[in-house]
């Protein structure tokens, strides 16, 4: 086992309030709830396994869909991910959160599968899909010159009467959002799914994807803008 592995002893099973610590005494990346969940998993609690799968399955499917072409293959990738989680659970050292660890396995498997199947359009998912300086919003929507250069020329139309509930009730809007998310390249899709769909904190998203916070927000803004633009078009 790695020298800086966490001292994950049986004691956590008897005293689940303990958050595992590394050998240097630093707190691990696990939350208290995750520490308790791992202890139950290692005791063979099938309910705990269901809990784990229920918590993360949706996010994993959506993320996998960014790397492979169809839902069926994404399901297989996620199934492989869960099998790898089961196989490796006893070796998990708790240096990152459980979610970070599971998502890391998924990304590795999904990329591998995407490359093997060559389902991706010119492998663009693994590279920045656009230049870092490209703007999310079409620059032609802003004044190009004159006194008001940089201010809106074609501003967004107001959605004043829209609430989250109304938007969710609109099949047209929901379909447009789902389609827009589905169409995102993997680099944009993974940040949107983790941050907005699953509500993962920005810092943890950076850790999972091994990117900087600046990079996260460049990607996230592009992804959100594409989804917003899709709703804008759907609502006319």
């Amino acid at each position: 086992m790695n020298a800086d592995a966490t001292t994950y002893t049986e004691s956590i099973g008897h005293n689940p309030s303990l958050i595992p610590k590394s050998k240097e005494g630093k707190p691990s990346g696990l939350t208290k709830a995750e520490g308790q969940l791992i202890a139950r998993l290692r005791r063979g609690d099938e309910g705990a396994f269901d809990e784990l799968v229920n918590q993360h399955h949706g996010a994993l499917i959506r993320m996998a869909m960014g790397y492979v072409a169809d839902r069926e293959v994404a399901e297989e990738v996620v199934q492989d991910t869960w099998l790898a989680v089961i196989e490796s659970l006893n070796r998990f050292e708790g240096r990152s959160s459980l979610r970070t660890w599971v998502c890391g396995i998924l990304i590795h498997k999904a990329k591998d599968r995407g490359v093997r199947e060559k389902r991706h359009t010119s492998f663009s998912a693994f590279e920045p899909c656009e230049g870092e300086n490209d703007e999310a919003v079409d620059p032609s929507r802003f004044q190009q010159s004159g006194e008001w250069a940089g201010h809106w020329a074609f501003p967004p139309k107001s959605w004043d009467d829209q609430t989250p509930e109304k938007l969710l009730a609109s099949q047209q809007a929901v379909s447009a959002m789902q389609r827009a998310i589905e169409m995102l390249p993997a680099t944009l899709k993974e940040v949107l799914i983790l941050r907005d769909v699953e509500g993962v904190e920005a810092k943890e998203v950076c850790e999972i994807l091994n990117i900087t916070e600046n990079n996260l927000y460049v990607r996230l803004h592009r992804a959100r803008e594409r989804v917003r633009a899709a709703v804008e078009t759907a609502l006319g």
């Binding site: 869960w82 196989e87 989804v227």
Partner: protein, 90 residues
């Protein structure tokens, strides 16, 4: 000076500058002074306010989209694999 909404309060930012930072602003990830300047601009520019509201709405709805379901067959085989790998401790 012309009475343009974006210039009612002089944040020193254009709408284009504000839009680029919209996601980081909504997630409260900008440095204090930048947040202040973006906030000043948004407070005085109806179009940027509309844009920010739409982005916030999209984020909120994204979190509430229907979740993909899990196939019962894959769930069963995973449970069986888990039970074999981690027999319940007595």
């Amino acid at each position: 000076m012309k009475d343009h909404p974006s210039q009612w309060i002089h944040s020193g930012l254009t709408c284009r500058d504000v839009v680029v930072q919209a996601s980081a602003y909504l997630d409260d990830q900008l440095p204090f002074f930048t947040t202040f300047r973006v906030g000043m601009h948004v407070a005085s520019c109806a179009d940027c306010r509309t844009y920010m509201k739409q982005m916030a709405l999209v984020c909120e709805v994204a979190a509430r989209l229907p979740k993909p379901y899990r196939s019962p067959i894959s769930r069963l085989s995973l449970r069986q694999h888990f039970a074999r790998s981690y027999p319940p401790s007595l």
